[in-house]
Subunit: 301 residues, 2 copies
């Protein structure tokens, strides 16, 4: 598998395991798709599927997803804690290996066109696929939720990028977009003073003058008697883990505080870790092609 | 592919590309085998095949290798710069993922028994598979080479572990053994004083009191005006890259010399790099299962 694109659709069903299983099975059966994970949250009444493949496989997987979801999820009868506007609520496309964000933007348009023409569902392009800055932010697009969209879409500002200017009666609308892989990364500090974590979070996050692709906040870890800088790395290729780690280390030293440890929550691409090894070992001309497992992935299929 | 065992057989043919291709094709066709690399050295008149698979696939690959090599390579007509004792000279088995050295030792015995019974070729178990310390070192086993083995094997000390006590008339004898993955790792220093590299190499290598799984020597890089500590990491899980790097850094500082860079030559397992990232980022509870590409390898097959 030379090209690996990750697709992480969120669907508005998290309480009926049988229905989620049927949908997951449909995605898994699409040619070239490898379904890696399915997580359901009953209180959100929402599930997240994680699958990978090349561009053709991702298209087939998304098509299978909509074919399975549209007859099974009726938003007029959906309730849950998480805001939502569609039966398939959002379809993020993430380049992992052998593909660029730009290629995923092209793919997102093709996927969007097919969803609109096949099911008559309006599609908004978001994040790196957004046609304008106003549509980059998913939360802005989703405002009003399913129940408010018939009205919202009368505003010319909210004409969809693909499909009709009215929500699908049961499936609502959907956002499709390319974005970089997100890594949930936490750095734990040897203090119980939340102010230290807060001030470091402010120093490193984009909004406060820090790294462009970092979102961060301070969190108390009561049971450990420590605090944490909780970070979303929204583009690890441009703002890598090690640079943020070293910056937090330096800022913490200013308070006489040391880093106890850090943690990656959930999945991360291998390159995010290779970049740290490359930095600290000062590797010359390192390429992930030198990694045996990378060869295995490329030789496969 | 949950279990990945690497097999790197060396064969005594490096000048006839067609013959090497036929042998490689036979290995590639074995069920479950993924052939990753074939490198021929005409002056050595020797080729190295790199293939991976689970235990069953490696067995099938080795069987296919011998079936292809025995009728094609005649050691009575072989010459080359590299010492050799067999048409298939050595069969190293290396655990990469989901397998231990101990499991590869078991596998080496099964492979050895099959080679001996199917082709009547004597087999010596070496490295971690060796029945005694005297047989651990491949160079010791190989002494006398093909031409000397009829005589050498009359010595009861050199009765083979499997097969008859006389060399195969055209295929000679073979060494089979489990060993850890070897990483060729060089650290480049910001000086042209070879004495500095030599003294650091002596400090870090096992024979001189250094790390147990490190072999090292100083090398001049004339064209760069620098010197290099050239290292063989013979067990990166027990003596990891970052520990050697930091030790070299500290020793170099004592001479007022800094590390310019380091390099991995050829292939390395992903875990060798993950261990460095884990160390420097002080990761808590990191597992390679958190790496997306690892999931892909495991979901496959």
């Amino acid at each position: 598998m030379r090209t690996v694109i990750e697709c992480v659709p969120n669907i508005s069903e998290g309480r009926d395991p049988e229905r989620v299983r049927e949908i997951a099975d449909a995605v898994r059966a699409a040619p070239g798709v490898r379904l890696l994970d399915v997580s359901s949250d009953p209180s959100h009444n929402r599930s997240v599927l994680t699958f990978v493949g090349d561009a053709a496989a991702v298209k087939a997987g998304v098509a299978a997803l909509f074919d399975a979801v549209v007859p099974r999820i009726d938003l007029t009868r959906h309730e849950g804690e998480h805001p939502r506007m569609g039966a398939v609520d959002v379809v993020p496309l993430i380049p992992i290996r052998g593909a660029t964000v730009e290629e995923c933007v092209v793919l997102s348009r093709e996927v969007a066109a097919e969803i609109a023409s096949r099911h008559g569902i309006p599609v908004y392009l978001y994040e790196d696929s957004a046609a304008s800055e106003a549509r980059r932010n998913l939360a802005e697009i989703r405002k009003g939720e399913f129940e408010g969209f018939a009205e919202k879409m009368k505003n010319p500002k909210w004409v969809p990028d693909f499909g009709p200017a009215r929500p699908h009666p049961t499936a609502g609308v959907v956002a499709v977009g390319a974005r970089s892989a997100l890594i949930a990364y936490n750095i734990n500090l040897g203090t119980n003073d939340l102010k230290v974590a807060d001030s470091i979070a402010r120093a490193i996050r984009h909004i406060g003058g820090g790294f462009r692709y970092v979102k961060a906040m301070g969190v108390a870890l009561a049971e450990r008697g420590q605090v944490q800088v909780s970070i979303n790395m929204i583009n690890y290729t441009k703002t890598p883990l090690h640079r943020v780690f070293e910056c937090v280390k330096s800022e913490a030293e200013r308070y006489g505080v040391s880093i106890v440890g850090s943690e990656i929550v959930g999945l991360a691409p291998a390159d995010a870790l290779f970049m740290a090894a490359d930095h600290y070992l000062r590797l010359e001309n390192f390429s992930s092609d030198q990694v045996l497992e990378t060869r295995l992935l490329e030789e496969g299929e």
